[in-house]
């Protein structure tokens, strides 16, 4: 059947930021498939010049409304490494719990409100509130728990208040920690309900081999700092982030593209899983196995399931962190420091993948040079080439333009792109 059609999705919905999908089919063959990021750039690297180290993380957190804690901690880590500042142990635990809160909130938002409507053929989560109220309720309970963790550890859900250079400015109240612990126990039911729901969804069967990039420290499932690794066997020091990104420009996107050993690579929950699955908590491990998720999984749609698996890991690990914090007097929260000249990278695993901030300071601790490389930036090329392969397969299989369009939209959403973040 020789069909001709064009798919032009302008400002794709249910993703953070502005991106377009363009697919062109001529004589029943894919002629072109393009992922265009058309977000307005904000020039954060330029804004950072001359900003004090003290204030830098308050600026960079504004790169992203969903993963502001990750941005804050990437900057703080870069500046602490540059100026040789070591935060106290309690502060490290509070920061990790903050990361857990953000990841849970972000994954719940994506799974239930951005991704799920596609699987149920609905335009948004609002009608799901009526058709599957229990599912939306479970999603909200998980998202709220994530936000409560962020509020207890950083002062609020978005744009953290108390994450500061040298540690944290304020610890969670013991009462807040006890409440969090209770919420974690009670909301396990919501997580199980969510897991059962995702088991009923049919995940598209699509595979394109790629290289997965994430942090790895060999001890814990990674969130803050570590070696930069890939499933193709690349291992680099945190400061060598540029060798893991190799940013380049295309003429159709305001976000840069990246690559490592192949023409594109991927970051995110699936990449973390593929590089670190053995470090997941016991329950998370079981859940992964029950979905048939095994490393190295090359189906980008399984990123949804990898996010769900990580929610289970967070439930397990957050409980341990809270126990430890309850046993701590929480007095030693912040170490004093003297500003100085230096240069370093801070890498963290944001919900959508590995995030790099590189900072150079002068003698007064002012930022003289900054570079931020965002997870979605590292996924843009992979999304672009995936779209090509997916649309090509769909056309070969005789799918209509409508079916192809939906699959392509679902593919992009599976990456949970944070586009305004990627054009920062």
């Amino acid at each position: 059947m020789n069909v001709d059609f064009n798919i032009d999705i302008h400002h794709l919905t249910r993703v953070e930021g502005h991106g377009n999908i363009h697919i062109s089919v001529k004589d029943g063959k894919l002629a072109e498939a393009r992922w265009e990021v058309i977000e307005t750039p904000r020039f954060f690297e330029m804004m950072l010049r001359g900003v004090s180290a003290e204030r830098a993380s308050f600026l960079t957190s504004r790169i992203c409304g969903i993963c502001s804690i990750s941005h804050s901690l990437a900057s703080i880590r870069a500046l602490e490494r540059a100026m040789e500042i070591e935060p106290p142990e309690a502060a490290k635990a509070i920061r990790l719990l903050a990361m857990h809160g953000e990841t849970l909130q972000s994954h719940a938002l994506h799974l239930f409100f951005l991704a799920a409507p596609d699987f149920l053929d609905m335009p948004s989560a609002v009608p799901i509130l009526h058709s599957h109220p229990e599912i939306v309720k479970a999603g909200l309970l998980l998202k709220e728990l994530g936000n409560e963790m962020s509020i207890a550890t950083t002062g609020r859900a978005t744009h953290p208040v108390s994450l500061v250079l040298g540690g944290v400015s304020k610890a969670p109240e013991k009462q807040q920690l006890k409440q969090l612990k209770e919420m974690l126990m009670k909301r396990r039911t919501a997580l199980d309900k969510a897991t059962a729901f995702f088991r009923t969804l049919s995940i598209p069967d699509f595979v394109r081999e790629t290289e997965f990039i994430s942090l790895r420290n060999g001890k814990d499932y990674p969130f803050i700092g570590g070696d930069l690794v890939s499933t193709d066997g690349v291992v680099r020091d945190e400061n060598d982030y540029l060798l893991m990104t190799n940013e380049y420009l295309t003429d159709f996107s305001t976000s840069k593209f990246t690559r490592v050993s192949r023409q594109s690579s991927a970051a995110g929950a699936l990449a973390r899983f593929n590089n670190n699955s053995r470090l997941l908590g016991h329950r998370a491990h079981e859940i992964a196995a029950s979905f048939g998720l095994e490393p190295i999984c090359h189906n980008p749609f399984m990123n949804n399931i990898a996010q769900l698996v990580e929610c289970h890991h967070i439930f397990e690990n957050a409980e341990i962190l809270i126990e430890n914090l309850l046993d701590d007097d929480l007095k030693n929260l912040r170490n004093a420091y003297k500003p100085k000249a230096g240069e370093a990278t801070g890498a963290v695993e944001a919900p959508r993948g590995v995030l790099y901030h590189h900072m150079e300071t002068d003698d007064d601790g002012k930022v003289v040079k900054a570079d931020c490389i965002i997870p979605t930036t590292q996924n843009n090329a992979n999304i672009h080439y995936d779209l090509h392969a997916l649309a090509s397969e769909a056309v070969k299989a005789g799918k209509t333009d409508r079916e192809t369009e939906k699959l392509c939209e679902m593919l992009v959403r599976s990456y949970d792109p944070c586009i305004s973040c990627s054009v920062h």
Partner: protein, 254 residues
């Protein structure tokens, strides 16, 4: 739905973002415990971030972000033409926000610094009231969902009140926080509009003025306070310029 015997009409809203982090829109989906009730007051006609349904028959437009590109000006004007009420939603829309920090560098230099020789369009960041008439401002970086709820309830029940006129210090004192000035930090609480529940000083970090100037405040006395305490003028200026909310007060201070 009824309130005091009056029928309440759902608010037909559109939510739109320009140059920003989209964190303010995200707040609409926060405070999950009251979210279903909150959504019950809204008829969401256009909200790209969460829904594939897009209609142009909204009455109230929430506009997030500042303006930094010519296509944004056209899009904003079209939204203004449709909306009966246009709300500047968040600090970027109200004052230009952190995006304004790029205005200290010439646009072509900023482009060269990030994109090299590739031509990328950008203009100095402006607040949306520089382009269109704004009917109501909800400042905050990000906006406070509790305040957004108060405003939405005020609109649907035709009982909208103004935001607080007093500064953040009033709320902060009620929380019995130690004053950050006493800990040797410049805090913008004395001059910034309240309504955020003093969230930053309660977390022991200084207010950076994201909500802009309070109506009832004394700016010269604030400057004097910083001088008397012997605190850094440079630190004060970094904070006062962080969100561009105090631009009108600073011309003589630079």
């Amino acid at each position: 739905m009824n309130h005091l015997g009056f029928k309440i009409e759902k608010m037909k809203i559109g939510s739109f973002d320009f140059t920003c982090c989209e964190g303010c829109q995200l707040q609409l989906a926060n405070k999950e415990s009251t979210l279903p009730a909150f959504l019950g007051l809204l008829d969401i006609r256009n909200f790209r971030e969460i829904s594939s349904e897009r209609h142009d028959d909204y009455d109230i437009a929430l506009v997030e972000g500042s303006i930094t590109r010519s296509d944004e000006i056209e899009r904003l004007k079209a939204i203004r033409a449709q909306a009966q009420v246009l709300v500047a939603f968040g600090t970027c829309a109200c004052f230009g926000g952190v995006n304004s920090l790029k205005n200290k560098i010439p646009a072509d230099e900023a482009v060269r610094g990030v994109y090299g020789d590739k031509a990328v369009e950008t203009m100095p960041s402006t607040k949306i009231s520089d382009i269109v008439t704004v009917d109501f401002m909800i400042p905050g970086c990000p906006v406070s969902k509790a305040e957004v709820e108060r405003v939405v309830i005020g609109i649907v029940t035709r009982s909208l009140n103004n935001l607080p006129k007093y500064p953040v210090c009033v709320d902060c004192k009620q929380k019995l926080n130690t004053c950050l000035f006493d800990l040797g930090e410049v805090c913008l609480g004395p001059v910034t509009k309240a309504g955020c529940d003093a969230v930053c000083p309660s977390g022991k970090t200084a207010c950076l003025g994201c909500r802009g100037p309070a109506d009832d405040m004394n700016f010269p006395s604030f400057l004097q306070l910083v001088r008397e305490k012997g605190l850094s003028h440079e630190e004060m200026m970094e904070k006062l310029t962080f969100y561009n909310g105090f631009a009108d007060y600073l011309d003589h201070e630079r």
